[in-house]
């Protein structure tokens, strides 16, 4: 009977964490941070270094992605139509291309239009090509866009087999290389970020382990007078959280400042190459949010990893 009452009473104590208790845990965690002095400094430093690298990598990756996207969107298949094809043959070819499920759009561009584009793109030198306006050697062209850029090669190969498709051009070789490069750089970046994160978690967990070893006696006594594991864990959890968040401050400042200047410097240069960077404003807030979140996760993860072992008393 007695025992039952005890459990009912105690489960209330555990589930309803009082604000007062949270205050106590917060105080404890701050005390520990100041008491640990150099170790606190070291682990905040570890998080800082990690998050700077993660931040820089992340910004570069996202921008590479953006550039890759714009390039990918520019990838198109140009189908040169055989001069022997009449209107009906042309229509048939267009229908056939449109029937390929991966195709998004097919646009017709007459040879006159093509010549105009060519002259325009060559600027002053292009004027000499005006001579050809009388006897245009170019072909009519279908400009084909695929739903996914990576389908380009596959679609192009299919079109090549069709009647009256005189030549199919999509930057053979370059497109494949580009896709390969983008894919690889994404993976390498991801692997680096994951590696860095694990290192930081390890460092934090070591710092907190030192706190805990120093307080092992205290933990033991707490357990002997009936503290629950979660009660003991909270201050360490918070300590990890603060360490992580503190570690995110400097990286946020550095990465945003650096991006601000890099954007100003690079944006006009890249514009000429039809490339774009991600605009500073909403992007850097997202990056900052991400860095704080990552710092918090690293800190909490590290602290919980090291507390676990000491709670089995």
């Amino acid at each position: 009977m007695n025992q039952e009452r005890l459990y009912v009473m105690s489960s209330e104590v555990i589930t309803v964490m009082k604000v007062r208790t949270l205050g106590r845990h917060a105080r404890e965690s701050f005390k520990s941070i100041s008491r640990n002095g150099w170790m606190t400094f070291a682990s905040v430093g570890a998080v800082t270094v990690t998050l700077i690298l993660v931040g820089v990598f992340f910004v570069i990756m996202m921008n590479l992605n953006k550039v890759a996207q714009t390039i990918e969107e520019d990838v198109e298949i140009r189908v040169h139509i055989d001069v022997a094809a009449n209107k009906a043959d042309q229509q048939k070819l267009q229908n056939q291309i449109e029937q390929i499920p991966e195709v998004k759009s097919v646009k017709f561009s007459s040879k006159e239009q093509e010549l105009k584009n060519l002259i325009k793109s060559l600027g002053d030198e292009g004027k000499t090509f005006k001579l050809f306006e009388q006897d245009n050697p170019l072909n009519d062209v279908f400009i084909v866009k695929t739903k996914k850029p990576t389908d380009t090669v596959f679609v192009a190969n299919q079109i090549e087999k069709m009647n009256y498709a005189y030549k199919v051009k999509y930057g053979k070789g370059q497109v494949e290389k580009l896709f390969k490069f983008i894919g690889a750089s994404r993976n390498v970046g991801l692997a680096l970020i994951v590696g860095l994160l694990l290192t930081a978690v390890f460092l934090i967990s070591n710092t907190i382990k030192i706190t805990i070893v120093a307080r092992r006696r205290e933990i033991r006594i707490m357990k002997l007078v009936g503290a629950t594991n979660s009660f003991i864990r909270w201050p360490f959890f918070l300590e990890g959280l603060w360490l992580g968040i503190l570690g995110a401050i400097l990286p946020i400042i550095l990465v945003s400042t650096a991006y601000y200047y890099a954007y100003d410097y690079l944006e006009p240069k890249l514009k000429g190459n039809f490339m774009q960077l991600i605009p500073f404003e909403p992007f850097i807030y997202q990056v900052s949010g991400l860095l704080v979140l990552m710092g918090a996760i690293i800190g909490v993860w590290g602290s919980l990893m090291s507390v676990r072992k000491f709670l089995r008393v």
Partner: protein
């Protein structure tokens, strides 16, 4: 209150510390646990507050088998038990008052109640006037009194003491002993492992003697019964 049935404890290194113990301790009893060093006294005591778990057998405390208690429920169980150690186990960074209050903070008691209750028990162990001092400023006997205050502050039904006078001179040991007597007359069960012959032979209580992991003697109002 506390009941052990066929309890055995074998440590991973192969030492059998407790080898088939059956015992029952009732509410309100005062029990000395005696025996030579290495006989298994400490293991016997530690199993009562579940610092050690028996290899086999049943340990019922308040009707619950703590040999099978889930880790999660251990803290709740311990709140019903006070433990006193030979080396006091006080927290050096905290004052006397804080050390005692700690046991109530940990179970998230109301601050007003904590204040009232801590002063109450400090009064009981005669240390009210030293509440603001640090443990290092106290004598051994005083430190042990703080430790006892902490063990009874949450009004446990049983107080378990592992050689509480082991580090103290005879006179101080008596002071400590008198506090345990006081606690016991208020209805709390006291189980005390001890090497103190004089105390056991003077303040007569039940004596459980342990040798080579077995109970070799269990007498109401017994004697210490060992040489040395």
């Amino acid at each position: 209150m506390i009941e052990m049935q066929e309890v055995m404890k074998k440590y991973p290194n192969g030492v059998t510390a407790i080898n088939g113990i059956n015992v029952q301790i009732d509410q309100g009893e005062f029990v000395y646990v005696v025996g030579p060093s290495g006989a298994g006294k400490s293991t016997f005591i530690k199993m009562m507050y579940r610092e050690e778990v028996p290899t086999s057998g049943v340990i019922l405390v308040n009707g619950v088998n703590i040999a099978r208690l889930k880790m999660k429920k251990v803290p709740l169980f311990r709140r019903n038990i006070g433990v006193v150690f030979q080396d006091y186990k006080l927290l050096p960074m905290l004052t006397v008052y804080e050390n005692v209050a700690f046991a109530l903070e940990v179970i998230e008691e109301n601050p007003k109640y904590i204040k009232k209750r801590v002063m109450e028990v400090l009064d009981l162990v005669n240390l009210k006037h030293k509440a603001r001092m640090m443990p290092t400023e106290l004598s051994g006997g005083e430190q042990q009194r703080v430790s006892i205050a902490r063990s009874i502050v949450n009004s446990p039904k049983v107080v378990i003491a592992d050689e509480p006078t082991g580090n103290l001179d005879p006179e101080t040991s008596w002071e400590i002993m008198n506090i345990f007597e006081e606690i016991n007359t208020r209805g709390t069960t006291v189980v005390m492992a001890t090497h103190n012959r004089e105390i056991v032979n003077t303040n007569k209580h039940r004596v459980i003697a342990i040798e080579s992991g077995k109970i070799v003697r269990d007498e109401q109002r017994g004697d210490y019964g060992y040489e040395g």
